[in-house]
């Protein structure tokens, strides 16, 4: 078995947002993620999990603390990471193919080769036939498949996913979880996946990092060692789900209290 190297090291991260009210989104945050690991960051809304992902991506900078990828400090966005957005963030004026090929073309790869490689990924996410469609003609699930293909096509070291299925209906969501699982099995990329759904976490993760309410830090880690693909109804699955829920419950209450406090000020 391959030795699991440390891929991502999140070290003593603190992130504050200045503004009308100063908000400490993350504090004393430490997370280590290994290579080929499917890591899920789970937490109540407002706990800063999306902020953490934006820090990993380089879209924002930490107030203090450091993040390392393969031992190197992350300073700004770069194609060694792929990102899947909750609101899809596809370019409306580009076709599906062009959206995916964009990253490749930026690397200097020829239009023809970019198109070919993009087609491979279009097939992989099951969108063959839609390569010349414009994003606004696609359903939510289809748009996110494009998002996933776009993030994977240039073979990044790490895949970052920000509640990618949050904007989809329950049926589509479940379908996408299964599909993502299948796609991941093929490449076994290191994934950092943010969600607030316990079931989603238990289904997809190797490790679940449960976050506290704001300011966010890691409350506990639940390892999920079940064979894949997992069965939602399996006893062991339910046990893992229960473990995660226990950790999460009190934090959800805390975050709702915080929301009420904001609304009354």
């Amino acid at each position: 078995m391959k030795k699991n190297q440390e891929k991502i090291k999140i070290h003593n991260i603190k992130k504050t947002f200045e503004g009308g009210n100063k908000v400490v989104a993350l504090e004393n945050l430490n997370i280590n993620i290994n290579e080929n690991e499917f890591a899920v960051i789970l937490g109540p809304s407002g706990c800063g999990k999306s902020t953490l992902l934006y820090l990993l991506a380089g879209f924002e900078k930490p107030t203090s603390g450091k993040i390392y990828l393969d031992g190197k400090l992350i300073k700004k966005p770069s194609p060694n990471r792929g990102f899947v957005f909750q609101d899809f963030a596809l370019y409306p004026w580009k076709t599906v193919l062009k959206n995916i090929a964009f990253g490749l073309e930026l690397k200097g790869i020829s239009k023809k080769d970019s198109a070919n490689k993009s087609m491979d990924y279009i097939k992989m996410v099951g969108l063959e036939g839609f390569e010349h469609a414009y994003p606004h003609t696609l359903s939510g699930g289809m748009k996110q498949r494009v998002g996933i293909a776009r993030a994977l096509v240039y073979d990044p070291e790490v895949l970052l996913m920000d509640e990618p299925f949050g904007a989809l209906d329950a049926q589509t969501r479940k379908q996408m979880q299964i599909e993502l699982e299948k796609i991941w099995e093929k490449t076994k990329k290191t994934v950092v996946f943010v969600t607030h759904s316990v079931i989603e976490a238990a289904y997809l993760a190797d490790k679940v990092f449960v976050m506290t309410a704001r300011p966010g830090k890691v409350k506990g880690i639940v390892g999920v060692n079940l064979p894949r693909p997992r069965d939602y109804t399996d006893d062991n699955f339910l046990k893992v789900r229960g473990k995660i829920l226990n950790l999460l419950e009190s934090e959800v209450e805390k975050s709702m209290q915080q929301k009420q406090e904001i609304e009354t000020t």
Partner: protein, 248 residues
Amino acid sequence: MFILPFIVVIPIWEIISQLELIAHLPPPSLIFSKFIFLAFEEGVLAQHLIGSVYRLLIGYILAVSFGIFLGTIVGLNKLISDTITPLLSLLISIPTIAWVPVLLITLGLGDETVIAAVFLGGFFAITYSVIHGIRTVNKNLINAGKIVGAGKYKLFESVLLPGSLVSLIPGLRLAIGYSWRALVGAEMLAAMVRWGVGKMIFTSRMSNVIETMFLGLLIIGIAGLLLDRLLLFIENKTVVKWGMVTEG
């Protein structure tokens, strides 16, 4: 179907005029014969149209160029755009026609004034729409570009620029309407201008040829409509095709 109302209205109009039920109302037949006369026998109609279109094109192209240029510079920087936008709103509040006396005094009574008026008509609207377009591009579209490796210039060219079209193109459409109206107004007021559809109405008033006035009105209205439809066509081929607006 578009013709329907006209098929009904024109005969009724003809009858009302011929029976002189309303004073000073030329019948469509007279307007039409005037049209034939001016267009083909005297051939001046073409000259009027060319004169106007020529001035419109120059002024509008200048407005688009400067507008996009200035709007881009301002739009890229938050502090500058927060400062300039209120000033722009203030300037837009001034009707373009109000600038014409100033233009007449400083630029004279000829073509330059009309072109300047056309420019002013379109410039503010375009600048504003570019600034607004750039500032309201979805942040995640920019992030998506950054993570796949786009540098500052590429981000501008491939994300900000197309992203701002959703505001720019309707802005261009608005602007051509403003420019066209500015053109007509300025032509009516600029004494040394000889050819132009606005001028045509004005001189026909001097000679009290009311059917020419009507003709001029119709031509101006139709021309304005055609210009608007032209830009609507562009809008449909771009931002509507990409699903970036909800209604045309």
